[in-house]
């Protein structure tokens, strides 16, 4: 039979193979997407939540832990010495350089609000042990944070993250809402 050697025929068959495998691969990928995506946070989990915190009972030097979007958050009322220590550190010398002023709201320097999960592997630093820099010491692998929640020593790569939060009165904040722009500037004055 001549047609086994017919170039046109061979090409057509090749085309069918390639097209069929291509479609199958595309189908496999399309099928994989829902199966992978179902593991991502569901809609109810994603529904953004805010947490209101009453600051009235927090005394200077004290730190409380609240839950916001399933994560623990430290709200710490810093003493004047702690604020000064945080401001006096040369920023370039930090592993994750950030000035204290970029981590607190101006006029409200007393209040430090940071996500409590260590940026190493997620443990919650010990409130009882302030570590070598007066902030927190993570018990898991020994990361030391300073009084601005910045990483100073240990395996954690980043500073404790600062969530968005807004003062709704002098003694109340809402975590999860952007600070009112006017409030920050007037209060700074």
């Amino acid at each position: 039979m001549a047609h086994a050697h017919d170039d046109a025929d061979v090409t057509r068959r090749d085309f069918i193979y390639v097209a069929a495998s291509g479609m199958t691969a595309a189908g496999a990928v399309a099928t994989a997407i829902p199966f992978i995506d179902q593991m991502n946070p569901a809609r109810d989990t994603l529904a953004l939540a805010t947490t209101e915190v009453d600051l009235a009972s927090v005394t200077p030097g004290q730190s409380i832990t609240v839950m916001w979007r399933k994560k623990p958050v430290f709200v710490r009322r810093r003493t004047p010495e702690e604020i000064k220590a945080a401001q006096d550190v040369p920023v370039d010398a930090l592993p994750d350089p950030q000035a204290d002023s970029a981590r607190v709201q101006s006029g409200k320097e007393e209040w430090l609000v940071v996500l409590a999960n260590c940026t190493h592997l997620g443990c919650v630093p010990d409130k009882g042990n302030k570590g070598e820099f007066g902030g927190w010491l993570c018990p898991c692998h020994g990361s030391h944070y300073d009084t601005s929640g910045r990483i100073r020593k240990g395996p954690a790569p980043l500073n404790l993250a600062v969530p968005e939060f807004r003062f709704i009165s002098d003694t109340k904040i809402v975590i999860g809402e952007a600070p009112a722009p006017a409030a920050t500037t007037t209060e700074g004055a």
Binding site: K71, C123, P155
Partner: protein, 464 residues
């Protein structure tokens, strides 16, 4: 080699079955009469022990799943109910939790055995790789299972281990949230972990079948590390090794049941009897003992990403072992230098395990005061006009508080370097520089030299 033995059906029924589903042929050729080297010692019984332990975990696990509730609000209490109210529930749980530890004791002995007798070398590379895959699956399964009781260690272990993936640049955070199904470890995480914890043991069972298949193509290695040359070197698996394995299993079960019935929480952590609390991390979190060496490697690296890479690398290096080894001689019995390196490696692994259990700043040796810091403090005191006795007091106090020490992290660093040096330097190099001892000509010759009987140890008719 797998041998020349062939099954012959003996009656009408077996002949009929053999031409339709040759299952008895498989049992007869691959199990009962499988030609097995005469000289296997007790280190070779751990394969059988592992198979048994997989069965124990699957059976007790299915029983536990009948009473367990995978929900963040109910899981802890459902496990307590298993312990207090379900008939023999305490026994099922203690068999399962201690069974996991026994499984790991057995797999570590099994792996060190392979390392000692060179069982990973040609023609058994695929067999070895399948073994490493089983080991990885076991670790995943045990980690997932440990989160299920939803105690403090469950929760924080899950948090720390899933956070390994947050070290991946750019996509790390997306991956961890995908693993959690949330912004932190929570109920979504628990439910998927339960689903996967149920699944993986059956995947392990599948890979075990491939592992045994890959074993039965070249046949067993043996303590001499030389090839089987013919029927005089082998005995049938049954009854010779069924009995030897059976005896080893009985002894192993004594150890297992000692823990289950007399010391069931010895290998666990008391913190796991405290319900999970996402607000507070226990002061000293440590993984289960079988993960400690890897945990020590992770902690000995001051950088997050590098720590995670080295930790995974310490296991992945095993995949390349067959090609890292430059020596053709398998058994360490004939490799004087490798044998020493092997034992140092065993000590290194145990040392890493010890380091993993300590706090990072656990002081091993005191190296005296940090003189520069002490001097600074004293200078400052002098500047403040402190003198005489008071100054001496300042100095003593400063010397007490600022001490240099060789701590657990330092030891961990040294051991981590030695761990990798064993695989990446010692193994390739020793094969080149070492002069192996003379190998015996055959297994049977070596066995007989030790005063064995010259009777062929083979049941009647096993070799046609």
């Amino acid at each position: 080699m797998a041998g020349d033995y062939k099954y012959k059906p003996t009656n009408g029924f077996t002949r009929w079955l053999d031409s339709r589903l040759p299952i008895w042929r498989m049992v007869d050729e691959q199990v009962l009469n499988f030609p097995t080297p005469k000289n296997l010692n007790y280190w070779y019984t751990f394969g059988g022990i592992l198979t048994l332990m997989l069965g124990v975990q699957i059976i007790t696990g299915i029983v536990l799943a009948m009473h367990y509730t995978p929900h963040e609000k109910l899981a802890f209490d459902s496990v307590e109910r298993i312990m207090r109210d379900v008939n023999y529930g305490w026994m099922m749980r203690y068999l399962h939790s201690n069974g996991a530890s026994m499984f790991f004791i057995a797999v570590y002995i099994h792996m060190f055995r392979g390392l000692y007798y060179g069982s990973y070398k040609a023609p058994r590379e695929v067999l070895w790789i399948l073994g490493v895959i089983i080991y990885l699956l076991m670790m995943a399964t045990a980690f997932l299972g440990y989160t299920l009781p939803w105690g403090q260690m469950s929760f924080w272990g899950a948090t720390v281990i899933t956070n390994f993936f947050s070290a991946i640049p750019f996509v790390g955070e997306a991956i961890t949230q995908w693993l959690w199904g949330s912004f932190a470890v929570d109920n979504s995480t628990l439910q998927r972990f339960f689903s996967l914890h149920y699944l993986l043991p059956f995947v392990i069972a599948g890979v075990v079948i491939l592992h045994i298949w890959a074993l039965h193509v070249p046949g067993n290695n043996n303590p001499l590390g030389i090839d089987v040359r013919g029927p005089q070197d082998t005995v049938a698996f049954h009854p010779y090794y069924t009995v030897k394995d059976g005896f080893a299993i009985a002894v192993f079960l004594l150890l297992f049941f000692y823990f289950v019935f007399f010391n069931p929480n010895y290998l666990g952590h008391t913190d796991n009897y405290i319900p999970a609390n996402p607000l507070v991390t226990p002061a000293h979190i440590v993984p289960e003992w079988y993960f400690l060496p890897f945990y020590a490697i992770l902690r000995s690296v001051p950088d997050k990403l590098m720590g995670v890479i080295l930790m995974f690398g310490s296991i992945f290096v095993l995949f390349f072992l067959p090609w890292l080894d430059t020596s053709r001689v398998r058994s360490a019995a004939f490799r004087p230098i490798y044998r020493q390196a092997f034992w140092i490696f065993v000590v290194v692994c145990l040392g890493l395990g010890w380091v993993g259990a300590q706090t990072t700043d656990y002081k091993i040796f005191d190296l005296g005061p940090k003189t520069d810091v002490v001097e600074q403090i004293v200078e400052k005191a002098k500047a403040d006009n402190v003198t005489g006795q008071a100054l001496e007091a300042v100095r003593t106090q400063a010397e007490e508080q600022n001490r240099r020490a060789f701590d657990a992290t330092d030891l961990g660093r040294i051991l981590t370097i030695l761990y990798f040096a064993f695989f990446l330097i010692a193994i390739p190099l020793i094969g080149v520089v070492e002069t192996p001892k003379a190998l015996p000509r055959s297994i049977s010759e070596a066995v007989l030299a030790h005063g064995g009987s010259s009777q062929p140890a083979r049941p009647q008719g096993a070799h046609a």
